[in-house]
């Protein structure tokens, strides 16, 4: 794969230079900035990028594999130029750049730190063991994030199932560990963390989501158990195989790095008042720590573990390139959605928030979608998302909206490969292990729509229909 990092660096430098120049010395505050709405046609680059992500690997694989970094960056630049030249809105770009760097710092640090850990489970795979494994992954994703849990557990999950592995194993892993599992804490999934930074109390999520999370998990795990029970695997290989029942763990020091990453997510001026803000730079102390962890954990990792994990930066590079395009091109889409939501806010009930946040979280990134819909929901009460005390007031006022938005943003991240960062990374790791993964459309039509949408509909019917 070609290297385009100079182009990426140039892209950031150009934006940063312009932003620093145009914003000279001013503190970024969303409350103080009113910008013109983008032209509706400006969602075309975003739609084009999504279509290419969906169709590229299917219909023009070779062209796509060689050119996706150029395409993602070029389409991103179209949006950037439009905002700078026509809207003269550097603030939206800086805000998005900050979110992107935060996103990629967390993902890359978790990816590299967990890449230095090897978990070997030498047990006979059974549907029940798999259910326990996935349930464990769901719980642990609330402690180390869906990305950390996915990176840590996908290899042992493939390993224990190597004689009977099918794409559905990986799909359910993405559903449960990479997405839905992490709905209980702000560490679990980025949108919840953004909510926490804005003032949603840390334990609000678990207190208000657990009774939706548990039935959702039971339904998905039960479906998995039924499907997995029909998989008899390779009988010939199974007969030859003996199992020690041992669980081995290598790369202990990387657990410390994982701990540092988890702790560093709280190093934010919004959480700890003594933490300095580095504004107008699009990066904070937290991101600097995370990028340092990337460097140190890679340099000090056990080489044997890296070899066993076939460590390569390509999966995270792929996410970094695609999401730089997604983050840039989705700015107009999100602004237009937020505008429409605020216009129609009196007509929007919890059910509409649930479906709108959900569907858009699956197609866009779930973190900014969460914030935009939270902003619109707060707007119903004349509250401002940028004022922490008002967010806390909103939480007390009517929790059904925040509940619908939180559940939808996390759960629906599972409906496409691009819904949540770890989805793509899990796919890439599996392909490197020789597993043929479903295409973008097959994933949606054969798995998401058939398995997830009925479950999400039940959740809507029970918890959100006609409420709010």
């Amino acid at each position: 794969m070609k290297k385009y990092s100079p182009a990426l660096i140039l892209f950031f430098v150009l934006i940063s230079d312009f932003l620093i120049a145009s914003d000279s010395g001013s503190v970024i505050s969303e409350t103080q900035t009113v910008h013109q709405l983008p032209d509706t046609l400006m969602v075309i680059p975003f739609i084009l990028l999504l279509l290419m992500i969906a169709t590229g690997p299917l219909f023009y694989k070779h062209f796509w594999e060689h050119n996706y970094p150029k395409i993602a960056i070029s389409l991103g630049i179209v949006t950037v130029v439009y905002y700078l030249v026509f809207l003269k809105d550097a603030h939206s770009l800086l805000h998005t750049l900050t979110e992107y760097l935060s996103f990629i710092a967390l993902l890359s640090s978790l990816f590299v730190a967990s890449g230095g850990i090897l978990i070997k489970v030498d047990k006979k795979s059974t549907p029940l063991l798999n259910v326990f494994f996935l349930a464990f992954g769901a719980i642990i994703s609330n402690v180390i994030g869906t990305t950390g849990a996915s990176m840590l557990l996908i290899r042992p999950f493939i390993k224990i199932n190597q004689n009977r592995i099918k794409p559905y194993h990986i799909i359910f892993f993405i559903f449960i560990v990479s997405n839905i599992g992490g709905a209980l804490t702000p560490i679990g999934d980025p949108p919840l963390f953004l909510g926490f930074l804005r003032g949603v109390p840390f334990f609000w999520v678990i207190e208000n989501v657990w009774y939706i999370w548990i039935p959702a998990m039971i339904l998905i795990l039960a479906l998995f158990f039924i499907v997995d029970s029909f998989n008899k695997g390779n009988e010939e290989t199974k007969l030859q195989q003996t199992y020690s029942g041992k669980i081995e763990f290598k790369g202990l020091k990387n657990l410390i790095y994982l701990g540092i990453i988890i702790l560093s997510v709280f190093i934010d001026p919004g959480v700890l008042s003594f933490v300095p803000s580095l504004a107008p730079f699009p990066i904070g102390i937290r991101e600097i720590i995370m990028f340092l962890v990337v460097y140190i954990s890679f340099k000090t990792a056990d080489k044997e573990v890296l070899k066993a994990n076939e460590f390569d930066f390509e999966p995270i590079k792929e996410v970094a390139y695609l999401f730089v395009g997604i983050f840039a091109t989705m700015i107009p889409a999100l602004q237009l959605i937020a505008h429409e939501a605020s216009v129609l806010r009196d007509e929007l009930n919890a059910g509409i928030f649930y479906w709108a946040t959900g569907i858009l979280s699956g197609l866009l990134d779930n973190a900014p979608t969460y914030l935009n819909f939270l902003s619109a929901a707060m707007g119903k009460y004349g509250l401002d998302i940028n004022i922490k005390s008002e967010v806390q007031e909103f939480v007390i006022h009517d929790e059904i909206y925040l509940q619908a938005i939180s559940v939808a943003a996390v759960f629906f991240g599972a409906i496409t490969y691009i819904g949540n960062g770890p989805n793509f990374m899990v796919k890439s790791i599996c392909e490197r292990a020789g597993i043929n993964m479903p295409s973008f459309f097959t994933y949606i039509f054969r798995y998401s729509i058939i398995i997830l949408i009925p479950i999400f509909t039940i959740i809507w019917y029970i918890f959100f229909l006609g409420k709010g």
Binding site: R155, I158, R432
Partner: protein, 121 residues
Amino acid sequence: MKTIDEVIKAKTTGLYYGNRLIIPFQAHFLKVVIENEIITDFSSGSKGIIVNEEDDFTNLYFLDYKDLKNSLTKYESIKFVVVEKGKDIFNLKNHKKIAVYLEEKHKARIEETDADILFIE
């Protein structure tokens, strides 16, 4: 010509130049995984790979790559499922999983994949 077992036991290395990998044995190829590309089409019209057999070795041309060395890290390998020429391809016991690591001076180290490496046939 050496068998695959002899090559692995003697730690005989292969060679690579650009997108060409030369391995010192002949085999029936069933599956090749390079990065996240899974190749199972070894026909003459394959878009991913050209297999060209010589008397004592096999040339593999990876058509999507200009330079293999630039694409793979030292921790990554090109993985193969192969069957020794002359052995029963339908007997799964004859299916061998091997990994090729690209080293300095154009050398390609050939190993049977150990239990740690994830490679699904």
